[in-house]
């Protein structure tokens, strides 16, 4: 009896710690399960498949060969095209998104909420329908291509079916993913810093370069990565606006999985794509952080 009492008195914290541990498990459990079931397992399957061979009637047959990787290397065109297109798209989003985010965050005043809402509203419509609508906007009849062609006097001037159309579609489709992170960082910016910069005689460009840009950098990096990743795998926009003439990674994966029914080959390409994205983003972050080290601030 006494011993038990002593025991209770001596270790009062133990039940609490246990409860904490249980609570942590309960809270983290679903997220961990989510990651394992929806990320780790599928990824493991893709990696395993990438070493297999195509079954006689399509699909996957277990094996351990490197042919699929060799093939992916022998036909690198879609990788290169995707890297180029996603980079151009990310830069395009930045060029359009930064001024827009800056305007909404600093100059829009009472209309701020309205403008943010207007940015979100298109998301309520199907991505496919929004992309199809660009067929009309850019079209050769009464669309942009027709108007521009009329101005330069070239009847056959066209935008649809060119990489430019794909780029426009990409920038349009992913712009909000760039604007929101930028907006959040710029909105929190201390405006007095800009006043101070101006008071100290800095010109507009110097103020932007030395004050606004460094403050916006975390949002800029997040936004760039957010738009770059999905653009690397984009399939619908090059198919519809690019008329299937811009052959990107997403399209190559469709060819592998659905046309050739060669899952191992498609899996190897998917693994390649993941590695390339890792490398690109790691390189990008290294580059950005190197620039920031002088100011002793790290991004991500």
């Amino acid at each position: 009896m006494t011993a038990e009492v002593t025991h209770d008195v001596m270790e009062p914290a133990k039940p609490g710690r246990l409860r904490n541990g249980l609570l942590t498990t309960l809270l983290v459990g679903p997220a961990a399960l989510w990651y394992v079931v929806l990320l780790v397992l599928p990824l493991a399957i893709v990696v395993i498949f990438s070493f297999g061979t195509r079954a006689k009637n399509g699909g996957y047959e277990p094996g351990f060969v490197f042919d699929n990787y060799i093939r992916a290397l022998e036909r690198p065109d879609p990788f290169i095209a995707s890297l180029a297109m996603a980079s151009a798209g990310a830069i395009g989003c930045l060029l359009v998104g930064l001024p827009l985010a800056y305007f909404i965050a600093t100059r829009a005043g009472k209309r701020k909420s309205l403008l943010i809402l207007l940015l979100v509203v298109p998301f309520w419509t199907s991505f496919l329908i929004r992309t199809y609508s660009w067929l009309i906007i850019l079209g050769p009849d009464n669309g942009l291509a027709g108007v521009l062609g009329g101005i330069v006097g070239d009847e056959d001037f066209r935008i649809l079916g060119t990489p430019v159309a794909v780029l426009i579609g990409l920038v349009y489709g992913y712009l909000p993913l760039m604007v929101f992170p930028l907006y959040v960082t710029l909105e929190r910016m201390d405006r007095t810093l800009i006043e101070a910069s101006k008071d100290l005689g800095a010109a507009r460009w110097a103020t932007f370069r030395q004050i606004t840009l460094p403050i916006a950098l975390p949002g800029l990096v997040t936004g760039t990565i957010l738009v770059f990743i999905p653009m690397m795998g984009e399939y619908v926009i090059p198919q519809i606006l690019g008329y299937g003439r811009t052959y990107l990674m997403g399209n190559a994966l469709v060819t592998d999985f659905l046309e050739a029914r060669n899952w191992p080959s498609g899996s190897a390409r998917a693994v390649f794509l993941i590695m390339i994205m890792f490398a690109t983003i790691a390189g990008y972050l290294w580059f950005v952080n190197r620039g920031r080290q002088a100011r002793d601030v790290s991004v991500l």
Partner: protein, 399 residues
């Protein structure tokens, strides 16, 4: 009189939403689910579920009716808008099949992915014939007792005993069509009647105004047939010659598009398309009436595709399935199918009941000498060389 018939036919065509072969946009989206479904099968875990109704059928079907008794249910898995509703109603009434379920797939890959994922409960499905041998090997479908399908006896022999079913054991031909050239004769000076003429136009006056369907098996037909080879060629040197032709025309191609090529032809963006007959009755219907759009079956020969009725190995309602397979081959019923979906029936006895305007349309029913020049496609999607040519072509198109 002929003109009035044609008008009536076109009106019917326009009202019809048959899109048997323009499935790309959908397949891009559905492909994901097909992939997931198939993945789960490959991983050996959960199976892809067919519709809830079909699953229910599988369980009730376990208590099989004694041979001869027609079950009151039938589960068909097929392309969309591909069976005449009139025929379905007539069948239900005549045989007391109250529950006729018609589920749809967007392309052969989806059908096979579903079956690989373990979908069961269906009685009948309609793959394209070149996929049938693979389905036999995988054990998905069963041999048919042809004595229970006497109405198929009038099948045109040209569509029987082909490589995909040499002994006519597994499939009953459903309907067929060709891959050819859609043209606008107001936009090109000469109607291309051959693959050679097509190529000359593509690199000439139709440069930048030619569409090809985004389908490896169909596009490869053009260079191979132009060179005088089999469209199923697996000879390395022949395929390399074909590669050179494709790379030569690649910079002149406006689009690879299986979904909206009819629109591109209709609005004049494109003057030629390597494609199928579908748009003739839909987007191009007005132009066909006006005489400015049409379809050629190239003189060097081309591909014909044929869809087929097959019965699944675990069909829960085999008696109803046999009744259906026999019913659908009745001449009048078969003719109604063609009148509805505008694809040619391979059953000769049905022809006299087909709408004369449809029967006279060479795009739907090619003349006998053309039929003789047609070649059925093999499933060569596993050929590494073909895939490499196709990918190089796709990359070269963008310049």
């Amino acid at each position: 009189m002929a003109e009035r018939d044609l008008e009536a036919m076109l009106a019917r065509m326009a009202a019809n939403k048959v899109n048997r072969r323009s499935f790309l946009a959908t397949s891009g989206l559905l492909g994901t689910s097909a992939f997931l479904a198939a993945c789960s099968g490959g991983g050996g875990s959960a199976s892809a579920a067919p519709s809830a109704a079909a699953s229910a059928a599988a369980s009730t079907g376990a208590s099989a009716a004694p041979a001869g008794d027609v079950e009151s249910e039938l589960f068909v898995y097929n392309w969309s808008d591909y069976i005449s509703p009139t025929n379905i109603d007539a069948f239900k009434a005549e045989f007391g099949v109250d529950n006729f379920v018609y589920d749809i797939f967007a392309n052969n890959e989806e059908l096979i992915a579903k079956l690989q994922g373990g979908a069961s409960g269906y009685d009948i499905c309609c793959p394209t014939a070149e996929y049938v041998p693979g389905m036999v090997e995988e054990g998905f479908i069963t041999k048919l007792d042809m004595s229970r399908i006497p109405n198929a006896a009038t099948m045109n022999p040209a569509f029987q005993s082909l490589w995909w079913d040499p002994n006519n054991e597994y499939l009953v031909p459903k309907d067929y069509g060709t891959t050819g050239i859609l043209w606008r004769n107001d936009l090109v000076t000469a109607v291309p009647e051959s693959w050679q003429a097509f190529k000359d136009l593509v690199v000439g006056e139709a440069s930048g105004k030619t569409v090809m369907v985004d389908s490896m098996g169909d596009v490869m037909v053009f260079p191979l047939k132009l060179l005088g080879y089999s469209l199923n060629s697996e000879v390395e040197s022949e395929l390399e010659e074909a590669r050179q032709i494709l790379l030569e025309v690649a910079p002149h191609v406006l689009a690879l598009d299986s979904d909206t090529y009819g629109d591109k032809m209709a609005n004049g963006e494109a003057s030629l398309t390597l494609g199928w007959t579908g748009p003739l009755g839909q987007e191009l219907a007005d132009l066909v009436t006006a005489g400015t759009a049409g379809y050629s079956v190239p003189s060097e020969g081309t591909l014909f595709w044929m869809d087929a009725w097959v019965m699944l190995a675990d069909a829960p309602h085999p008696n109803a399935a046999y009744e259906w397979l026999n019913f659908i081959q009745r001449p009048e019923v078969q003719a109604e199918e063609t009148n509805f979906n505008l694809y040619a029936t391979p059953n000769d006895a049905a022809k006299e009941f087909v709408d004369p305007a449809i029967l006279a349309n060479p795009a739907i029913f090619p003349p006998d000498d053309v039929v003789a020049s047609l070649e059925g496609a093999k499933d060569l999607s596993g050929s590494a060389q073909r895939l490499d040519i196709w990918e190089e072509f796709k990359s070269a198109i963008g310049g």
